[in-house]
């Protein structure tokens, strides 16, 4: 359970720290990063979870989104888990959208994935406990969750499943209906098997229809995103929220793509959304 420091990088008056640790949930070494804002040096700060997309690690969002500026402004700690277990002995697939880098934030029940791919338990239980222990000023009573693409799916579904854990929620270009799109169907078949009743437990559209959340859900989506029509289909979530009576803002951003240029352009608004809800 001990955290091994890998790197510490000064950023906007705070620091990005990268750690390795032996994960019980994933039965492997896992790497994650935490941004501590300057305010964490002197008192409790809320904690935002940022879940990354396919192929990403802790690094993409840290290097490319500019999130630290806003975290420092609001006094928000941000935790960046990896997108899957990795390394030798961990199952993988040739595709970029299954296996290492593509954990989909679910607990796999099928071979060969079940041995290591337990990302839901890892992100919602094991890692929060480690964060609370290692960072005494991380106020675990004030957590929010966000993410990009596959990580947007993670943020929406984990909020809807564990709404007592996460006060606030938002997503960038999320996979809102994994049971209806190729990325989700491929991953859920592999990780969860062919019984689609199991899939519905990890589909934001299905979950919100079962029960709404008090949180206002904020979604930004690039209108020029290559994956919009085949994989993302945010209108499905808009429809599900309308049917369920769930408050949601889905903002289509003209001209923006699926990249971190898009995320960086709007992450300041997401950080303000979370800070307001978390009283950062």
């Amino acid at each position: 359970m001990a955290l091994q420091p890998v790197q510490a990088i000064a950023s906007f008056g705070g620091k990005v720290e990268v750690f390795d640790h032996a994960s019980d949930a994933c039965n492997s070494t896992m790497r994650f990063a935490v941004y501590s804002p300057p305010q964490a040096a002197s008192g409790p700060v809320p904690v935002l979870w940022y879940l990354s997309g396919l192929t990403c690690t802790w690094a993409n969002v840290n290097e490319k989104s500019g999130i630290q500026r806003y975290a420092a402004e609001h006094g928000t700690m941000v935790v960046f888990p990896d997108t899957s277990p990795r390394g030798e002995g961990v199952a993988d697939d040739e595709g970029y959208d299954l296996g290492q880098g593509a954990g989909f934030y679910v607990d796999a029940t099928q071979d060969p994935w079940a041995e290591h791919f337990q990302m839901e338990t890892y992100v919602t239980k094991e890692l929060p406990a480690l964060i609370g222990e290692r960072f005494p000023n991380a106020d675990m009573a004030r957590q929010g969750i966000t993410g990009h693409s596959m990580g947007g799916h993670g943020a929406l579904t984990l909020h809807l499943k564990y709404r007592d854990s996460y006060v606030s929620v938002s997503a960038f270009s999320p996979i809102v209906a994994p049971t209806q799109v190729p990325w989700g169907q491929k991953a859920f078949t592999a990780y969860l098997g062919s019984d689609t009743t199991q899939w519905a437990k990890h589909d934001a559209c299905e979950l919100v229809k079962q029960a709404t959340t008090k949180a206002h859900i904020l979604i930004d989506q690039g209108a020029a995103d290559n994956f919009l029509d085949e994989q993302l289909r945010p209108q499905l979530f808009g429809d599900a929220c309308a049917e369920a009576g769930q408050e949601v803002s889905i903002r289509m951003r003209e001209g923006y793509d699926h990249s971190y240029y898009f995320v960086s352009s709007f992450i300041g608004e997401h950080m303000a959304h979370h800070a307001k809800a978390l009283k950062a």
Copy 2:
């Protein structure tokens, strides 16, 4: 001379555009990027040159520095040249610090470099003409220049040599005394030959002693930068400015390294410095 559009990416209400073109100066295809802020759609805006460091292209600073946010805030266009000519037929070296990706913003006089490595002429003459032609709202009477590491050397020396072209100047972790440090000595020997009187024309410490500039020179330097003592040595520039009576601010930033985490943390202050001088 025609610009070939490679990519256009929406960012902070403006866009990053990437172009290829046949360069006369470098006798090869060159790639560069321009960030047009939203204000450029409706009227003239000042132009800031950002010169990148060893191994970089237009992409590093665009992906990692968050510069677009501040460019959009102030209404500043930013031009991002490559760090050298590249490709087959262009001379190269095994080291990361010579040849492709390491042009040092000088016009090479020595074989095999002279045929393509004419970065001073490219950056100060050929590319500004192309920018003025392609972007009618680029106000070429209001240009500033900045850069990182080798690009900081480029910004300081090109400002000091062409002070009528660049109204404002700043640098991140610049190589201030290339004639006295290994990176500069290796590159200048290769590009300029063994006559060190030729080197002095491309050394910010030597140039400022020959003539000061009206511009206030702003430099930020990470105090935890691995290259600080061997390659950067900002105190040499501080001493040269003191001797010459040149206004300069050299700010040592505790805990910061040489990376874009450092650049991103302070680029907002540099953009404000340029915007003030350029009346953006």
